[in-house]
C-alpha cells in the first residue's frame, strides 16, 4: 500500500481519536478501524491486513476482504489516501 499520503502523518491515540496535522482535521475510528489504519500507516499490504483481522477477530476472510476494501474506499473519500 502506498503511504505517500496524508495517512502516514496521522496521529492516533488509544481511544481511536485521529488527528491530521497537515489539515487540522480530526476523525474517530473504532477498534477495528484502528487496526486497519495502523497497518496502512506501516504500509502493510491489503492481504496482510486481512490476515491480521482474521487472526485477531472472529470473522471470515471474505468479510474481512470486503470490510478492508470498504474502509480503504472510505479513506479515499476523506482524501487520506489516494
Amino acid at each position: 500500500m502506498n503511504t505517500n499520503n496524508r495517512i502516514a502523518r496521522l496521529a492516533i491515540n488509544e481511544e481511536g481519536f485521529v488527528f491530521d496535522p497537515q489539515t487540522g482535521e480530526s476523525f474517530t475510528v473504532n477498534q477495528t478501524g484502528k487496526v486497519i489504519l495502523k497497518a496502512l500507516m506501516r504500509s502493510d499490504s491489503e492481504e496482510s491486513i486481512i490476515l491480521q483481522l482474521t487472526e485477531q477477530f472472529a470473522l471470515s476472510p471474505q468479510e474481512a476482504q470486503a470490510d478492508v476494501r470498504d474502509f480503504i474506499h472510505h479513506l479515499r473519500a476523506y482524501q487520506l489516501i489516494y
Binding site: 485521529v18 482535521e25 480530526s26 476523525f27 474517530t28 475510528v29 473504532n30 477498534q31 477495528t32 478501524g33 487496526v35 486497519i36 489504519l37 483481522l53 487472526e55 485477531q56 477477530f57 472472529a58 470473522l59 468479510e63 470490510d67 478492508v68 470498504d70 474502509f71 474506499h73 472510505h74 479513506l75 473519500a77 476523506y78
Partner: protein, 452 residues
C-alpha cells in the same frame, strides 16, 4: 482457536465536525431501534416462511386504532359513521376488517366500487367520491343506492342523464372546497364555497329537477396537523347547509367531512418527531364536535361521516427488507442496496420512515443511503440517516408503511412481494407474491412476432 478471538465489529472512521452540529445528528447505541418481532412473530420466522421483502400488517393495531377513533367521536357526537377510504389500502382482508368494525366503504373509482361490492358491501353502504365516474359506473351506483358525491358540473349533467334513463330522482351530495385557515388550500376537487360556486352548483341541481341534494362533503387536505382547521370546516359546512335550507328549502341529511388525519409518520421537512408533532385523535374529535355544536341548531344531529384512511392504517403496516449489497460512495457515504425500493414504498418521496434492525448492531453509526433494487438513480428509500455498519443479509424493518403503499406500489422491474396479516400469533397471506404469470396474463404476443 476461534474461541480466543475478539468479537468483530465492522471498521468505521467518522470525520469530526468541530464547531458545527453534525447535520445527521448523533446516533448513540441507545437511540438505535431494534424490532425482533411484529406482534410476537419473529422477523426471522416471517422471512423464513414468506421471504423478503415482505409487507406485514398487524390486525390488532388496525382494530385497536379504529376502535379508539370511533370512541373518540362517539363520545362527543351521537351520530357518527366511519367510512373506510379504499384508496389508502384496498386489499380485501384489510377492507374486511374495517367493515367488521362497522365502517362503510368510501371509494373513488369504478374499480374500488366493484371491489367493495364483490366483498359484499351493499350499494347504500358505499360513498362514491372522486372526479372520474363514468356514466356506466354512475348508473350502476345509482341503481344500487350508493351515496354519490358530485365533484364538478359535468357530473351533474351525467347524473341527470342517468336519472332520465332510469326515470328516477337521484339523491346526491356535492363536494365543497373551502378556506379552513390552512395552506395549501385544496381547491381542485368539488365546488368552491367562498366564491359562490357551491351555491351555483346547488342552484343548477335544483334547476334540473332530477337530482335531490341531501348531503355535503368536504375534504380539506392530507396529513393535517392543525385540528382547528376541521372546526372551521365543519362550521362552514353546517352554516352553508342552513343557508340552503333558508334559500331553497333543501334539507341536508348528512355531512361528510373527509379524512386527512395524520399518522405517526415523519413528513420530510418537519423537525419534530411525530410523537410530538402529531396531535392525538381526541383533539380532532374535540374540534370537530365543537364546530358542529357551534353551528348546528339545538337538537339537530345530522349524520357525520368520516373518511379517515392514513390515520387508521399507517402504523399497522411494516415492510421487512434485506441488505443485499453495500458500497462506498465517492463522497464517503455508505450505500446499501436493499431488496425493496420506491417500487414498493411510493410514499418514501414524502415520508421518512422509522428504520429498525431485527437485532442489536455493533459499530459506530455513519451517514448512509438506503437504495432499492431498481436500476434507476431515483431509487432511494432514505438518505442522511446514521446507520451502524450492516453486512449482507441484515434485516431492516421500515414503518409506518400501512397507508398508500400497497395501493400505489408498482410492478416495475421487480415482482411485488407477499403481504401477510398477523392475528394473535397466526400469520396469514392476504396477497401472494407475484410471479411471471401475473406479468404476462394481460399481454398478447401477435403470432408474427413469436420467436419460438
Amino acid at each position: 482457536m476461534t474461541n480466543n478471538k475478539k468479537p468483530y465489529v465492522k471498521p468505521t472512521i467518522i470525520k469530526l465536525q468541530s464547531g458545527l452540529m453534525n447535520k445527521f445528528g448523533v446516533s448513540p447505541y441507545y437511540a438505535r431501534k431494534v424490532r425482533s418481532n411484529i406482534d410476537g412473530v419473529s422477523i426471522e420466522e416471517l422471512t423464513k416462511q414468506f421471504g423478503s421483502p415482505l409487507f406485514v400488517f398487524s390486525e390488532k393495531t388496525i382494530r385497536n386504532t379504529i376502535r379508539e377513533a370511533k370512541e373518540a367521536f362517539a363520545t362527543r357526537y351521537p351520530n357518527v359513521t366511519f367510512s373506510w377510504s379504499y384508496k389508502t389500502n384496498y386489499i380485501d382482508a384489510i377492507n374486511a376488517i374495517y367493515h367488521q368494525e362497522g365502517s362503510i366503504a368510501e371509494v373513488v373509482s369504478e374499480m374500488e366500487y366493484d371491489k367493495a361490492r364483490k366483498l359484499g358491501i351493499s350499494g347504500e353502504n358505499i360513498i362514491f367520491n372522486g372526479p372520474h365516474k363514468s356514466i356506466p359506473a354512475l348508473k350502476k351506483a345509482v341503481q344500487e343506492g350508493a351515496k354519490i358525491h358530485i365533484d364538478h358540473f359535468d357530473e351533474i349533467d351525467d347524473l341527470e342523464t342517468v336519472a332520465a334513463e332510469l326515470n328516477k330522482e337521484i339523491p346526491v351530495a356535492i363536494r365543497l372546497n373551502l378556506d379552513s385557515g390552512i395552506q395549501p388550500q385544496w381547491s381542485r376537487f368539488g365546488f368552491n364555497l367562498e366564491s359562490g360556486q357551491a351555491l351555483d352548483a346547488v342552484r343548477r341541481i335544483n334547476m334540473g329537477g332530477k337530482l335531490r341534494l341531501n348531503g355535503l362533503h368536504c375534504h380539506i387536505g392530507t396529513f393535517i396537523l392543525e385540528p382547528n382547521a376541521y372546526k372551521t370546516q365543519t362550521e362552514k359546512m353546517v352554516k352553508f347547509a342552513y343557508e340552503l335550507e333558508d334559500m331553497l328549502g333543501i334539507s341536508i341529511e348528512y355531512f361528510d367531512i373527509g379524512g386527512g388525519f395524520p399518522s405517526k409518520s415523519k413528513l420530510k421537512g418537519t423537525y419534530l418527531p411525530p410523537d410530538v408533532s402529531v396531535p392525538p385523535i381526541d383533539n380532532y374529535a374535540e374540534k370537530i364536535s365543537q364546530g358542529l355544536f357551534n353551528a348546528l341548531k339545538p337538537g339537530h344531529f345530522p349524520k357525520l361521516y368520516l373518511e379517515t384512511g392514513r390515520g387508521l392504517i399507517d402504523e399497522a403496516g411494516y415492510l421487512i427488507t434485506t441488505v443485499f449489497a453495500s458500497k462506498r460512495l465517492p463522497d464517503g457515504r455508505k450505500s446499501y442496496v436493499l431488496d425493496a425500493g420506491v417500487n414498493l414504498l411510493f410514499t418514501a418521496t414524502w415520508y421518512k420512515f422509522t428504520i429498525e434492525t431485527d437485532r442489536e448492531m455493533q459499530g459506530l453509526g455513519e451517514p448512509a443511503l438506503l437504495n432499492g433494487p431498481l436500476c434507476m438513480n431515483i431509487d432511494i428509500l432514505d438518505e442522511g440517516s446514521m446507520l451502524p455498519p450492516m453486512k449482507r443479509g441484515t434485516r431492516l424493518i421500515l414503518s409506518p408503511v400501512g397507508a398508500y403503499n400497497v395501493t400505489q406500489w408498482m410492478q416495475f422491474i421487480e415482482y411485488r412481494p407477499a403481504v401477510v396479516l398477523i392475528n394473535e400469533n397466526q400469520v396469514e397471506i392476504i396477497r401472494e407474491k407475484e410471479d411471471l404469470s401475473d406479468i404476462l396474463r394481460r399481454e398478447r404476443l401477435p403470432k408474427r412476432l413469436r420467436l419460438a
